[in-house]
């Protein structure tokens, strides 16, 4: 009997210990954690490593780091160390990094920030690795915008990181120079990976699935860094990006038709090769002008067209049962003209001096689509169409004018 009582006591002790441990994990003194970490960010000496301790930490306002050199912000692993901004009341970002040189951010998870989980502005030599960035609320238009958001930076490397449930773009590198995004996984975002107005970017060895659009390369008007160019997209697996578009209208990504693999818009010199582009229900890869957005352009220095786009040696495949998206203009168009998903779409828009007779553009604007197997290709010849439905008459499926070659690009650099 005594033994049994002892045993029971032991069990109770173990159970209560366990409960205690759990309680401790839930009841972190977050205000103090926030203050201490923010203090470390502010006081960090150049060259410092700031350790994010293991645990599930609740923060209520943005953390910021400004004007530092050679800093590492490091957690013990994305599963062990989570910064949660679910109840954020102040600031829009999770972590806001500005004006830093040589900064590495690695080994933890940032989740549920009101705006962007991790924003870096005006930084040089940025490394983001082994990170996770997500919204635990699932696909919701009220989620934050970007998982990783370097903007106006030089020499950016994002690798071995995951991103999901962004109401805009998972990885969004904008207006930056020399960019590499590799070995990342993006899923359940409106857009998986977006390169916007960058000069020299490499996007390779990534896996994007279940986004509305897998990879997007956009050049937008009215921005300080103009004329985005020189981007390589290769060795990526771009698969079944058929998720609903849950972005709020107004943002550019809200126009992405669900079921889009790779979208190139208004960019110059993009090389898309060796990608596996599979089961995207609307389109595999498209190269389109800014005109498809239907938005006005008030930037005299802006070129709205896709030039020197080189799509080659990709593997396109799609289930025959997939039905193109019916919720967007482009999706409806694909549905109307083809009934099944298209592999490569070219919209054909350009100024008259850029266009050649054969449907392609004249050098140096020429676009080349070669060695992509037996694909479904449509040139929409939108410049001939007065209204959207005219495309039913203007499109051609002849790919021979695009059987050409362009010099290989050098891409991003890191």
């Amino acid at each position: 009997m005594k033994k049994i009582i002892y045993l029971l006591l032991l069990i109770i002790l173990i159970v209560s210990c366990k409960t205690n441990t759990k309680k401790e994990a839930e009841f972190v003194n977050d205000a103090n954690f926030q203050k201490t970490l923010q203090e470390q960010f502010i006081m960090a000496e150049d060259g410092a490593t700031i350790e994010i301790p293991d645990g599930n930490w609740i923060l209520t306002k943005s953390l910021s780091i400004e004007g530092k050199n050679n800093i590492t912000i490091k957690g013990n692993g994305k599963d062990k160390c989570i910064l949660s901004f679910l109840n954020q009341t102040e600031g829009a970002e999770g972590i806001n990094v500005t004006n830093c040189n040589n900064i590495t951010i690695e080994g933890f998870t940032i989740q549920d920030a009101k705006g962007d989980n991790l924003k870096l502005k005006a930084c040089n030599q940025v490394i983001i690795k082994n990170m996770n960035s997500t919204w635990t609320t699932g696909a919701d238009s009220a989620n934050g915008n970007y998982g990783y958001y370097p903007v106006e930076c030089h020499d950016v490397l994002i690798e071995h990181s995951d991103v999901s449930y962004c109401a805009d773009a998972g990885v969004y590198v904008g207006q930056s120079i020399n960019v590499t995004v590799r070995n990342c996984t993006a899923h359940h975002n409106v857009c998986g990976i977006e390169i916007e107005n960058c000069i020299n970017a490499d996007v390779y060895d990534n896996y994007t699935y279940n986004n509305s659009g897998g990879i997007v390369v956009y050049d937008l008007p009215g921005l300080p860094l103009k004329h985005g160019r020189n981007c390589r997209v290769y060795n990526n697996k771009v698969e079944a990006n058929n998720f609903k578009n849950f972005a709020k209208p107004g943002s550019y990504v809200s126009d992405i038709p669900p079921g889009s693999g790779i979208i190139i818009m208004a960019y110059d010199s993009v090389e898309v090769f060796n990608n596996t582009i599979k089961d995207n229900k609307t389109l595999g890869c498209c190269a389109v002008s800014y005109q498809v957005t239907g938005r006005p352009i008030n930037d005299s220095l802006y070129s709205a067209f896709c030039t020197a786009i080189n799509i080659h040696n990709n593997t396109f495949s799609r289930k025959i049962t997939l039905i193109p998206d019916m919720t967007s203009m482009l999706g409806k168009l694909v549905l109307a003209i083809s009934k099944t998903p298209l592999d490569i779409i070219f919209d054909g828009n350009a100024t008259a001096d850029m266009r050649a007779e054969n449907g392609n553009f004249k050098p140096p604007y020429q676009n080349c689509f070669t060695n992509n197997g037996d694909i479904k290709f449509y040139n929409l010849n939108m410049w001939k169409a007065k209204k959207e439905t005219d495309v039913l008459k203007t499109y051609t499926t002849d790919i021979t004018p695009f059987d050409c070659s362009l010099p290989k690009l050098n891409g991003g650099g890191n």
Binding site: K35, I65, G144, N145, E152, G222, Y252, N298
Partner: protein, 351 residues
């Protein structure tokens, strides 16, 4: 026990210093003091904010909105030093300058004799090669304020002009966040003290005078020639006699938004530029698609849709408090309805 006594003694020594009215202003540009009182910027009882010798009060024609906080501004420069006139940007202040901004709420805005609570005092100190920002948070007793580089959040309540009780969580920005707004080409820079925002009368204890003339007369400004007639002047946002609807709306947007939304500012990546000197219509947001607003776009397509304020993202972001939507990102947890009304009226008036 010994420690306790020591602490007590130390506190006592400090409080003696606090009430030392004979001290002159003391500034160490190499490092901030822990207590606001150590600067001797004010004489007598600290929370009366009676400026010490050389500390000059000033005001802005159109100030930044900060959760309806009242602000008492002062400037101090080392003896013999002076700021230089700059036509379009903040004045060129000498090393050692201290810009002092006290944020306070009257207990009852309808009757200021009931007293006030000072929440924080921000010092901008011009060091040898750069400005530095230091936030000081006042204690409950209102006897002194302590440097708090990580900022803080404080519950604040007051009775507003309409007799309504207001309760907010007032946010003191951290040292980094100061730079979010005070940022020109990634360099921390004062926002308010520009000629166009100082160019008005101020009721000094010894008589009313144009601020720029006063600064010149006390040696705090050189290069200002009133007769030159080249000096810009902002409209006073809430005074219809000071400018047209457009001028007042643009003045409001300039001081509240353009420190970020200018080509040299923190929000330059958006392409939305709201400084008064901006001439490009798209830069003002007219029929401009948002770039990185994300869900902050609020189902609206353009930043400004002429004659349609309720379709304009600019208004949407001013009308909301959610950190993800609201603009400005910092310094505001309640909607400035009067400001929203002004900007809406301006957009409604656009053809």
């Amino acid at each position: 026990m010994l420690l306790l006594i020591q602490c007590k003694t130390k506190t006592k020594t400090n409080s003696t210093t606090d009430t030392n009215t004979n001290s002159t202003v003391t500034v160490d540009v190499s490092q901030p003091f822990e207590k606001l009182s150590a600067y001797h910027l004010f004489k007598g009882t600290l929370n009366d904010l009676i400026p010490n010798d050389g500390v000059l009060p000033y005001d802005l024609i159109t100030p930044l909105f900060t959760d309806y906080a009242h602000k008492a501004r002062f400037v101090w420069m080392p003896k013999g030093e002076t700021a230089k006139y700059v036509k379009d940007e903040a004045l060129d202040f000498p090393v050692g300058t201290v810009l002092i901004k006290n944020f306070y709420y009257p207990i009852d805005e309808r009757d200021e004799s009931k007293g006030r609570r000072i929440i924080e005092t921000r010092l901008l100190i011009k060091q040898a090669d750069k400005w530095e920002a230091f936030p000081y948070i006042w204690n409950d007793e209102q006897t002194d304020a302590t440097l708090e580089i990580v900022g803080g959040t404080l519950p604040v309540s007051w009775i507003n002009k309409a007799g309504k009780k207001m309760d907010i969580a007032y946010v003191v920005p951290n040292k980094n966040e100061c730079k979010n707004c005070h940022n020109v080409k990634n360099v921390l820079t004062p926002i308010g003290p520009k000629v166009r925002n100082l160019n008005c009368d101020f009721a000094y204890t010894d008589g009313t005078m144009n601020q720029l003339e006063k600064w010149t007369s006390v040696g705090y400004l050189t290069g200002f020639v009133p007769a030159d007639n080249i000096h810009n002047k902002l409209a006073k946002w809430n005074d219809e006699t000071s400018g047209s609807l457009e001028e007042r709306a643009k003045s409001y947007l300039e001081i509240n938004c353009a420190h970020c939304h200018r080509p040299e500012g923190n929000a330059n990546t958006t392409g939305l530029f709201l400084q008064l000197s901006e001439k490009n219509k798209e830069a003002w947001g007219i029929m401009k698609s948002p770039v990185a607003a994300g869900s902050g776009s609020g189902d609206r397509l353009y930043d400004v849709v002429p004659s349609k304020p309720d379709e304009s993202i600019l208004v949407y972001r001013m009308e909301h408090n959610d950190p993800q939507i609201r603009m400005p990102e910092l310094g505001r947890s309640v909607v400035h309805q009067e400001g929203v009304d002004l900007v809406k009226a301006w957009i409604a008036s656009m053809k």
